[in-house]
């Protein structure tokens, strides 16, 4: 789950890391008032979840409250990366002596968090690591031991930073590492971490991402401190009607799991497929053989007839979908006959002939004999494990392209 900058700053602040006195504003008038309160030059920053704000014109400087209001009005209307901003952040223009970078990420290979620090802040850390590796300090953290300040100090000192800068930056990185662990973040970055002309260190921008799986136990932070609604998905795009309907069907029944996505898919072949790895394999197999999937889906666990039926119906009702392919890798706990009943029911309820509409049914495994009997009755082409996932996908593609059944 991603956070807006104003939320990330609040998270950082709650961890005891100093930030400038910023204001989150939803209107130009509020931005003016915030600029007046701050006094002096300010920065107006668009609050969107996508990156590249600076380039898109989503960050502007203002010398007066009037200018702040005008800039805010403009930025609030500016779409960045397909998203309208949620508001603007009004921040005092800081007197910066130097910019640093502080971050914590997961190292999946070591299976431990990795602290990163650089005395070249304000730019992309990957670029710094690539071109000036000696300016990036790194240090892994144990998952079991308490996080000590000296660990942060070692990482910072490795970049050559010493003196009061070292002593001021150390608690910032250590607190960032503790918040990364305590708040279940997958990414916690302060960039830039600024040393102001008075020698103090403040977080001028922060970027936080929390693991979705941890949302239930971080409810206090999310709903309490940050006032984020429990149903806010924070996907990189708005869910489509198809996606919303499929989640509603899934939520209505606890048996089995179905998921559907159609962002980025525009084809004519509906996919009723499963499970995790099987769906990835089958989507590739359809595309590699010239097919155009209308959607992606996953059937998992042991869904009820109603659930399989609901998914198939949603797929069939998408614009331009004339046929569906019902395919899975060999299943052990999903009952083949139940899925068969569900997809046939979907066709019948929509007044379509199952034999014509279901291009192929390839789900081998538990209760397959019962399933195949039902499919036979409705004239649906089916196959067992002797037909590979690649071949089954190929047959479906051939059918929708009107070329008849592919040769064996």
């Amino acid at each position: 789950m991603r956070f807006f900058e104003y939320e990330s700053r609040r998270i950082v602040e709650l961890a005891g890391i100093p930030v400038t006195r910023y204001g989150f504003c939803r209107s130009a008038e509020e931005a003016r008032a915030a600029a007046e309160e701050i006094g002096g030059p300010v920065v107006i920053k668009s609050q969107v979840l996508s990156g590249g704000r600076m380039k898109a014109g989503g960050v502007k400087f203002a010398d007066s409250p009037g200018e702040a209001e005008a800039h805010a009005a403009e930025i609030l209307e500016l779409e960045i990366g397909g998203q309208m901003p949620r508001g603007v952040l009004v921040d005092p223009k800081a007197e910066i002596k130097q910019e640093y970078y502080a971050g914590v990420v997961w190292d999946g290979t070591r299976k431990q968090p990795l602290m990163l620090f650089s005395d070249m802040g304000g730019i992309d850390i990957e670029e710094v690591a690539d071109q000036h590796p000696e300016h990036v300090g790194r240090g892994h953290l144990s998952n079991l031991l308490p996080i000590s300040d000296f660990e942060a100090k070692q990482v910072i000192a490795a970049t050559g930073v010493s003196g009061s800068q070292l002593n001021r930056a150390t608690p910032v990185l250590a607190r960032l590492a503790r918040l990364f662990r305590e708040r279940d973040m997958t990414l916690a970055e302060i960039n830039p971490l600024a040393e102001l002309t008075d020698g103090s260190f403040v977080a001028l921008d922060a970027h936080m991402e929390m693991e979705n799986e941890a949302k239930p136990r971080q409810k206090g932070l999310l709903e309490g401190e940050l006032e984020i609604a429990p149903d806010e998905t924070r996907e990189p795009y708005e869910p489509s009607e198809f996606e919303r309907h499929v989640s509603a069907i899934d939520a209505a029944d606890h048996r089995g799991v179905i998921q559907g996505k159609d962002h980025g898919f525009e084809g004519n072949l509906g996919l009723v497929i499963g499970a995790g790895g099987g769906s990835l394999t089958l989507t590739d197999a359809v595309r590699s053989q010239g097919g155009r999937p209308a959607n992606y889906s996953e059937i998992g666990g042991n869904p009820s007839v109603a659930k399989s039926c609901g998914l198939a119906k949603e797929v069939l009702q998408k614009d331009g979908v004339s046929k569906i392919a019902v395919m899975m890798s060999i299943v052990s706990n999903t009952r083949v006959d139940i899925v068969a009943r569900g997809v046939i029911k979907a066709c019948l309820e929509l007044g379509r002939d199952p034999g014509e509409t279901i291009a192929i049914f390839r789900i081998p495994g538990a209760w397959e004999e019962e399933g195949f009997k039902i499919l036979e009755r409705y004239g649906v082409e089916y196959c067992d494990r002797s037909v590979s996932m690649w071949e089954a996908a190929g047959r479906a593609v051939a059918k929708i392209q009107g070329e008849g059944v592919a040769s064996q």
Binding site: G108, P113, N143, G274, A275, G277, R385
Partner: protein, 304 residues
């Protein structure tokens, strides 16, 4: 010989009274696995298909009267870490974590403790492992008769980030007359107990295993780690890889996760194309189509 399991391997099931755990216990017993106890706090004294249920792992071990080799953990995500730590601290050395949606911090904690204590974790978010006709630990392959259909003994070690695809691939190897030495569903999360590279030394040391098949997906560095392992160790085992989710490389799919929690393309190294290039550079054959796997294995076995 196979790896990690023998016909004498004993294990318990933590969370044994849950619906899925009851089925899994039945399947394992039918397959001939030695399930010596179950744990569900507060349910001591019951039994599940004849397997006695205890409140603690310690009680189950005491009842067995000897160290217990393994545990299948299938408890809700909020309690999984505690269950795994309990198993480790009671001397269990092989822990299969079935549960999905466990926060990464919890996984990292249990994996670190396991490494200190010399225990091995398989998963989370996995179906376990199977040595055909010897032992099945977890839901892998389903009911005993279905597992028997998909898994025959043979020379191929299988490791897969997808539980279902472990069986699909093994079944195709069985149908082709090759068969499987040990098949391991390693789990689909961003951090897992045992990666391909971490399991390779076991297969390397196993006389029965003569080739490896891996099922991989976009996201993470696990394939890069395997490529490095292959480059650094003069392995005798040919490796065949299949990469699913190539469609995720499309620009409009960036930042989206499909299939498993671990499949999300965040950087350049995560993409299917980049991973295929790395695997191939290490001499690993990456097949384009899923049905090419048995043929590619036969080719390598005959060449070697």
């Amino acid at each position: 010989m196979a790896i990690l399991l023998t016909k004498d391997t004993t294990f318990i099931v933590q969370g044994i009274t849950g619906r899925e755990a009851v089925n899994l216990t039945r399947e394992c017993l039918d397959y001939g696995s030695r399930v010596v106890g179950g744990v569900t706090p507060g349910r001591k004294g019951r039994d599940v298909h004849g397997v006695p249920v205890f409140d603690t792992v310690g009680q189950a071990v005491e009842h067995h009267g000897a160290p217990v080799d393994g545990s299948v953990v299938t408890v809700p995500p909020a309690f999984t870490k505690d269950a795994v730590l309990e198993a480790i601290e009671n001397g269990v050395n092989l822990i299969v974590v079935v549960t999905e949606r466990i926060p990464r911090r919890d996984v990292a904690e249990m994996v670190e403790l396991a490494s200190i204590r010399g225990a091995r974790i398989i998963g989370p978010n996995c179906l376990g492992l199977i040595v055909p006709e010897v032992c099945k630990m977890g839901g892998i392959g389903g009911p005993a008769k279905d597992a028997a259909k998909a898994y025959a003994p043979g020379p191929v070690g299988v490791m897969s980030r997808s539980g279902g695809m472990t069986t699909e691939i093994s079944s195709s190897l069985t149908q082709a007359g090759l068969g499987v030495s040990t098949a391991i569903s390693i789990g689909g999360d961003a951090i897992i107990g045992s990666t391909y590279a971490e399991l390779m030394p076991h297969f390397e040391a196993d006389e029965q295993t003569r080739a490896i098949v891996i099922y991989t997906e976009p996201g993470g560095r696990m394939e890069a780690q395997l490529s490095e392992w292959v480059a650094e160790n003069d392995s005798r085992l040919p490796i065949i890889a299949f990469m699913a989710g190539k469609f995720m490389d499309d620009a409009e799919m960036q930042g989206m996760s499909f299939g498993h929690a671990g499949t999300i393309v965040e950087g350049k190294e995560d993409t299917a194309a980049e991973k295929i290039a790395r695997l191939e550079a290490a001499g690993i054959r990456v097949v384009e189509r899923i049905d090419e796997i048995p043929g590619a294995v036969k080719e390598r076995l005959e060449a070697g």
